[in-house]
């Protein structure tokens, strides 16, 4: 009996992951991330990876909404910020513990997503992009207008996630594994949704909305569903990251949090679901551990004069250039490009064999 299940799991793995090189890469990266803290315990690296995990969730939720259904959101920071802030407000005013606030926060995220999704059904394309982009900006202005209620200047402190007995290192490790588990679970759930029947309907909305409507698909329902799922995971990521940082500030609505998920998704491949995961780790790897040493190596005196922050800024500029090149050369993402190329090669080989 169990052999049968193992066999089935293996077949599923082989067809879904092993046969597609970029997915295999993503899978290996998963394993590497899981065992990394066992080999080397560096708190800085752990903290950065924890953050990268959360950004990965945000990016995947963005990819499901934009890459699959084609509803352009340029304001995913809204979900992130709503996640962090609603948990913080619940803690501040009611003193609720994390295990209560996190699910409620996710519900709030869904509520907000549906709340903005219903009116946004009327606007399309660039108009939708603008409305979503301006929402977080409007919220930030609002937070600063009532600074005493929202503690806009100092931020709201959040309770510690772990008991004090965990210690400093222990809580970092626990943070890391919690974020890793959340990332893995969210990624698998979103991947499952994207490959299910619902996911196929999502893609039909992207390809031809009119045709899907004509086929009897309830377009409104599926659009809202995509918004809701995206809001659920986006607010989860923001909320948990709020707990990790133990505070919620208006910077949680910052435009950079709307743009970074887009950048990493473009890097990994839009509409692939696993692409943004890989992209977000590559982004943080490049940002912290690849660009600064290269800059120090090429231009030591310049690097010394600008300091680490300046080196990271230069690195970010290089990263942006890379993303622009990727997005203009391969608009559907690097992963798609590789898969297509491999398919072409395979086809060419088969044709060659026949001859």
């Amino acid at each position: 009996m169990s052999v049968k299940y193992l066999r089935r799991a293996y077949v599923s793995f082989a067809t879904h992951v092993y046969d597609v090189p970029p997915r295999m890469l993503a899978f290996l990266m998963f394993i590497a991330l899981a065992i990394l803290p066992l080999t080397q315990l560096n708190l800085t690296i752990l903290e950065r990876l924890t953050y990268a995990n959360m950004i990965a969730i945000l990016a995947v939720s963005w990819d499901l909404l934009v890459g699959r259904t084609g509803q352009i959101s340029m304001g995913h920071a809204l979900f992130w910020g709503v996640g962090a802030y609603s948990a913080a407000l619940l803690f501040q005013y009611f003193g609720w513990p994390a295990w209560m606030t996190i699910p409620i926060t996710m519900l709030v995220g869904v509520g907000i997503a549906v709340g903005i999704g219903i009116p946004c059904l009327r606007v399309k394309g660039p108009y939708l992009a603008l409305v979503t982009m301006s929402l977080p900006l409007a919220v930030v202005g609002f937070l600063y207008y009532y600074p005493s209620a929202f503690h806009a200047d100092t931020g709201i402190r959040l309770s510690a996630l772990w008991p004090a007995s965990f210690g400093w290192t222990g809580s970092f490790l626990a943070n890391y594994y919690l974020s890793f588990a959340l990332m893995a679970v969210s990624a698998v759930i979103i991947y499952k949704i994207a490959t299910s029947k619902t996911g196929v309907v999502f893609v039909s909305l992207l390809d031809d909305e009119l045709a899907s409507k004509a086929s009897g698909i309830n377009v409104t329902k599926y659009k809202l569903l995509a918004f809701a799922i995206s809001g659920l995971f986006g607010s989860l990521a923001g909320c948990v990251q709020g707990y990790f940082a133990s505070s919620a500030r208006p910077t949680a609505f910052d435009i950079s949090l709307s743009i970074i998920p887009i950048l990493v998704t473009i890097l990994g491949g839009i509409g692939t679901i696993y692409g943004p995961l890989v992209g977000s780790y590559i982004y943080y790897l490049l940002y912290y551990y690849v660009f600064p040493p290269i800059i120090r190596w090429i231009a030591p005196s310049y690097a010394a004069s600008v300091g680490v922050a300046g080196q990271q800024l230069v690195g970010f500029v290089i990263f942006l250039v890379i993303v622009i090149i990727f997005a203009t050369r391969w608009p559907r993402g690097i992963a798609r490009a590789i898969v297509d190329k491999l398919d072409d090669l395979q086809e060419a080989r088969e044709i060659g064999e026949k001859k």
Partner: protein, 300 residues
């Protein structure tokens, strides 16, 4: 008193906002490209102008008139920013024409890129301010204090609007742009170079953006590292309010936006200025999803 303030300052602000959005709407009207890098070009213009004005006095003999320096700097700024905008368009957005998601993503990335480059070159941070001054001083009109730069900005805005409308309506190049906005294939058959026209449009839009940037920065007293975002959101909102690609609609959008901002500020809601325009925008879009003036009206 309050009413006069709202009317005069609202008019001036509206005209400056219209100037800010003009380049954006021009590009969309001609090529259908939503170039979010417009916000960054505004900032690029302001910084280039500031650098030139800071650099020029060492070049010219003492006693060289301030007006001449400013005019020279503005001309150089518009040329440089126009070239930058045009090259950016050709290198990035031209190859993904028609792909809306990619265009939005690439242009917002380009926007970030320009902003970061400026931070690098000018050692700026988000809060550091880079002094930009055209003509310091102010005048009083009906008891309302108006900065010289605001007046000049409003006048320049009107001049640019009128001349651009005439350019599009009368000149050969302008008519070619209009033709492209109506039917690309027919325009190509008539021997119009799509690439060249789109690059020219981007250059004109970049030049106008830089002028707007100079005025915006000068009215605020300085250019800052985050002005691209406000410039982008203002111009995007104005354009959307009036309907994308519709030059007349842009003026109406700017008027609504400018007056509402000034009214809110003067009525004491200073803190809400950051969010109120967006609320107006969201409400308008929800009532009329394609802006106040319907969709993509033919360029006029």
């Amino acid at each position: 008193m309050l009413l006069e303030e709202i009317i005069i300052l609202g008019t001036v602000t509206s005209l400056v906002y219209a100037l800010l959005a003009l380049g954006f709407t021009l590009i969309y009207g001609v090529s259908g490209v939503i170039n979010l890098a417009h916000g960054a070009l505004v900032m690029v213009g302001a910084y280039i102008f500031g650098a030139l004005v800071g650099f020029f006095p060492s070049l010219f003999p003492a006693g060289f008139s301030h007006v001449a320096v400013v005019v020279l700097a503005v001309i150089l700024t518009t040329i440089l920013t126009g070239i930058i905008g045009s090259i950016f368009y050709r290198l990035t957005l031209h190859s993904i024409l028609g792909d809306q998601i990619a265009t939005l993503v690439v242009s917002i990335t380009g926007c970030m890129l320009f902003a970061q480059l400026i931070w690098l070159v000018f050692g700026a941070t988000l809060t550091a301010r880079f002094p930009v001054n055209l003509f310091p001083g102010y005048r009083t009109l009906l008891g309302v204090t108006v900065l010289n730069d605001q007046t000049l900005g409003a006048v320049v805005s009107i001049i640019l609007f009128v001349s651009l409308s005439i350019f599009i309506a009368k000149s050969r190049t302008g008519m070619a742009m209009k033709a492209l906005s109506q039917d690309i294939e027919a325009a190509m058959l008539m021997g119009i170079s799509v690439e060249g026209m789109y690059m020219l449009t981007s250059a004109i839009a970049g030049a106008i953006a830089s002028i707007a940037g100079v005025f915006i920065a000068s009215i605020a007293g300085a250019a800052s590292g985050d002005m691209w975002l406000s410039a982008l959101s203002i111009s995007f909102s104005v354009v959307i309010l009036g309907g994308l690609g519709n030059i007349k609609g842009t003026i109406v959008g700017a008027v609504i936006f400018g007056y509402s901002v000034e009214a809110i500020t003067l009525l004491g809601g200073g803190g809400l200025v950051a969010s109120f325009p967006f609320i107006v925008l969201i409400i308008v879009l929800l009532i009329r999803p394609k802006g106040l003036f319907g969709k993509h009206v033919e360029m006029e």
